[in-house]
């Protein structure tokens, strides 16, 4: 069930939410729409779902054009950030809703709902009401509800945004495993790059209503198309026109002709890694990510003079190896 | 979108037929003969007296109910005591009681044949068929509005500001005057507007208790009925228009003060 978005634009008053966006989500994939707030990712998802109408452009699901089809008839499952649970119905009735609308038999509904509740590990909760569930449980119920009608496509709008960190982690892994089992084309909207990297096999990075880059997590990290992508996907140091990842900043105690001198301003232990803030002899500042082993060997102290080499850096246009920053 | 237009048309037509057109017809009829007769009708002594009495009674009722309202709101929100639920329930009563029953109740308590009434009569105080009775009736029916509007405001602002004032040395009364009162201003204002409207519009209770003596104990609403029963349509409509204009002003003021959540 490939999803194809072709030249879609949408504005709200003066605000351009989507600017001539074209992208594809291959059948069976788990694609993440990633970007900061206002990038247009939620709008795009809602346009695909039929909850918003684009000003121009077309939407195809499995090669059938669905641009004019209302949300009811698109066969998409949608999961909302704030669950949108039917609070006046219990868990069973929530999950059964889509089946009831399609007039399935009572027996069939009972069977399917039980299967789904088991799948999302909410068996035993059938008679509870959403108000009695935790956030994570509500979201799992919402997922079961969306999957009940066997949608061709599953759309999730920041599904873990309202949950606390630990639950978010759990559900991320759980979603990934679920996707492996169910294999429905899934699109996930998130502003959290770690989440996108962890869960998705394809990432569509958006900014200001446009697509910056599309690719797998490794692609985007190793070969960012521009400075926005590089900065969004991971931490980055900017030295003039050159961009360096903190873990590509190598620190050693002695100079060897390929290094520059630098002073340690500050360093913090963050468990496995240590973050070291440095000032180069030309006044530029950067920070390095070293392991605690390396930090221990270096005997770091504030004000200490060390020597720094850049392992790998990027200037947009080309990729440069091992050169030192020129100011 | 046809559905949306249909619904809108149905709703607006209903409102037009039930509310707007009837009021409109009265306005039109009042000025049908020009402003002259209307002015004459307004400036008649009985009419002026009725207007004056109505405003006086309303002013007293509003003053009393506002002071009571603020105190009662504080008691409800800031104090804990047994019987709070009962207090809440009693506050709802004036809205649930027919105005005629209110008039009857005052008649029973203060009428000359009752204990209290007899005793008051000896002291030379007349409640029934006189202004005090009208005032009591009006206070009764317009009682809950200030309380009900101040309570949620008071609840929402919490006690932190008041506590801060206390730690800075303010006495209880100073805290009330300088911190609490300004904070609940909007609730009080809205409540006052509602109270005034209800007070001015009171008819049923006053019908029973005032004796409807023209030029003496007629409020403006009673005057409207009186003119109608005397087939003086101009006088009747004129007084109605005055009341309707006050009502429209009330609507404007309530929209100014209303907490913005209902729309």
């Amino acid at each position: 069930m490939t999803i194809t978005v072709r030249e879609v634009s949408k504005r709200f008053g003066n605000f351009v939410a989507l600017d001539d966006v074209s992208v594809e989500a291959p059948a069976g994939s788990l694609t993440a729409l990633l970007g900061p707030s206002g990038s247009g990712k939620s709008t795009l998802l809602r346009v695909i779902a039929g909850l918003e109408k684009p000003d121009s452009g077309k939407i195809f699901i499995s090669d059938e054009e669905k641009t004019q089809t209302p949300a009811q008839k698109r066969g998409v499952g949608f999961v909302f950030q704030h669950y949108a649970a039917f609070k006046h119905m219990n868990v069973f009735e929530n999950v059964a809703f889509g089946l009831k609308i399609r007039k399935r038999s009572k027996a069939e509904i009972r069977k399917r709902v039980s299967e789904l509740l088991e799948l999302v590990q909410l068996d035993g909760f059938a008679n509870r009401y959403p108000a009695q569930l935790s956030g994570g449980q509500r979201q799992r119920m919402a997922l079961a509800r969306a999957l009940a009608v066997q949608p061709e496509v599953l759309l999730l709008d920041e599904p873990f945004g309202a949950l606390d960190a630990r639950v978010r982690q759990e559900l991320r892994g759980w979603l990934k495993r679920l996707h492996e089992e169910i294999e429905v084309t899934t699109i996930l909207v998130t502003h959290d790059q770690e989440e996108a990297m962890e869960v998705a096999d394809r990432i569509v990075l958006m900014n200001h209503g446009k697509i910056e880059q599309v690719g797998g997590p490794q692609d985007l990290y190793e070969n960012p198309a521009n400075e926005f992508v590089m900065g969004f996907i991971g931490p980055v140091n900017r030295l003039g026109d050159t961009f360096v990842r903190p873990h590509d900043v190598e620190i050693q105690l002695h100079e060897d002709g390929t290094t520059s001198e630098a002073t340690v301003d500050h360093f913090v232990y963050l468990g496995f890694e240590v973050r070291v803030e440095l000032t180069l002899s030309d006044g530029q500042q950067l920070w390095a990510q070293v392991t605690r082993e390396e930090a221990w060997h270096l005997g770091l102290e504030r004000g200490k003079t060390v020597h720094v080499r850049i392992g790998h850096s990027k200037v947009f246009g080309q990729s440069v190896e091992g050169s030192l920053p020129q100011s | 979108m046809i559905a949306r237009l249909t619904l809108r048309t149905l709703a607006l037509s209903y409102l037009a037929l039930l509310l707007v057109f009837p009021v409109g017809v009265v306005f039109v009829r009042t000025f049908a003969e020009g402003v002259g007769p209307v002015w004459e009708a307004i400036t008649r002594p009985d009419a002026l007296h009725a207007l004056w009495l109505t405003l006086l009674v309303a002013a007293i009722a509003v003053a009393g109910n506002t002071i009571f309202g603020v105190i009662c709101a504080i008691v409800l929100v800031r104090h804990d005591f047994r019987g709070k639920a009962l207090l809440n329930a009693v506050l709802d009563l004036p809205l649930a009681v027919s105005p005629v029953v209110v008039g009857l109740a005052l008649l029973v308590v203060y009428g000359r044949t009752s204990l209290v009434g007899g005793w008051l009569a000896e002291a030379g105080i007349r409640v029934i068929f006189s202004a005090p009775g009208i005032i009591l009736a009006t206070i009764f029916v317009s009682l809950p509005f200030v309380v009900r509007e101040v309570v949620p405001v008071l609840r929402e602002i919490g006690t932190e500001q008041e506590q801060a004032a206390t730690t800075l040395g303010a006495s209880a009364f100073q805290t009330f005057r300088l911190v609490t009162l300004p904070a609940i201003r909007s609730g009080v204002a809205y409540g006052v507007v509602l109270t005034t409207a209800r007070a001015i519009g009171e008819f049923g209770a006053v019908s029973i208790i005032s004796g409807k003596l023209a030029g003496r104990t007629e409020t403006l609403t009673i005057y409207v009925e009186d003119r109608f029963l005397h087939f003086d349509l101009v006088g009747c409509y004129t007084a109605s228009v005055i009341l309707a204009l006050i009502a429209v002003m009330t609507l404007l003021l309530t929209n100014l003060f209303k907490p913005r959540e209902e729309y």
Partner: protein
């Protein structure tokens, strides 16, 4: 003008306020004022209604004219309330979901029955629908006129009770319903209406309580014809004028009891309605 303010206020979680036991003066003033103005007079009515003993009371409320008035009042109020459920929900829906120029004015007009004196309300209806009607419609002095007056004065109740609930309704639920295949009508029936029902009913209950006691708007419009268009409040008035204060008190007590029952039912409704929010 929300009459659910107290109920809503009870459910607002304010910042943890320190509650005092203190200031018995305040409490005394509040309770004293209430007693003087409200409780004592009402208690006096109840007391007075027992003047003729049980038989006197029963006779007062079951004589033919009283019964006719009560029957008319209750039936008319029920019919009016049923109509209000439909029109009130419709108007609230249009005010919350639709947008058009002048909507603010329309929203303000809803409160007109609260602001306009009831006697004037009756007069306006008489002007448009009485013997001088420009529309040629004359319903004055008929049972229909009773209904019309009651419709006027109870209009705002369901509207104002429903508006805030409709405003706060989670639109996500409606979108979820659409994404699951439900048509707009199905979504309204299965998702929106069940969540609105408690508010609608509670507005209806308040309107009913108000309606059975209504006096000013019917006095000019209906002709107050005994056994035909005389409502309970007018009957009570007549009994007072005729010096039958005890009889009047008895019927008054009956009306009071009905009102209180309705209010009590409404508070139960409110609790039931918010059961899924807790």
């Amino acid at each position: 003008m929300s009459h659910n303010t107290l109920d809503r206020a009870r459910s607002i979680p304010g910042p943890t306020a320190s509650k005092k036991q203190g200031s018995p003066l305040n409490r005394g003033v509040a309770i004293g004022y209430l007693s003087l103005i409200v409780l004592i007079p009402l208690a006096a009515v109840v007391w007075r209604s027992t003047d003729g003993g049980v038989e006197g009371f029963l006779q007062a409320i079951s004589n033919p004219q009283a019964l006719a008035a009560l029957r008319l009042t209750l039936l008319a109020s029920l019919v009016v309330v049923a109509l209000n459920v439909v029109t009130g929900t419709l108007i609230a829906w249009v005010l919350v979901r639709d947008s058009f120029r002048g909507k603010g004015v329309v929203n303000a007009i809803i409160d007109l029955p609260f602001a306009l004196p009831t006697i004037v309300a009756g007069l306006t209806l008489l002007a448009l629908y009485g013997s001088e009607s420009p529309l040629g419609l004359n319903v004055a002095y008929t049972k229909v006129s009773v209904g019309m007056a009651l419709l006027f004065v109870t209009l705002p109740f369901v509207v104002r009770a429903t508006q805030p609930v409709l405003l706060e309704l989670d639109r996500g639920m409606e979108e979820a319903s659409a994404s699951l295949g439900a048509s707009e009508l199905q979504t309204f029936r299965r998702i929106i209406l069940p969540n609105l029902l408690p508010a609608i009913l509670s507005g209806a209950a308040l309107g009913f309580a108000r309606s059975i006691g209504e006096f000013g708007s019917v006095v000019l419009l209906t002709g107050n014809i005994p056994f035909e268009t005389q409502v309970a409040s007018v009957y009570i008035f007549g009994q007072v004028e005729g010096d039958n204060v005890t009889g009047a008190a008895a019927v008054s007590v009956l009306l009071l009891v009905i009102s209180l029952l309705v209010l009590f039912a409404m508070s139960l409704l409110n609790r039931w309605g918010t059961r899924h929010d807790r």
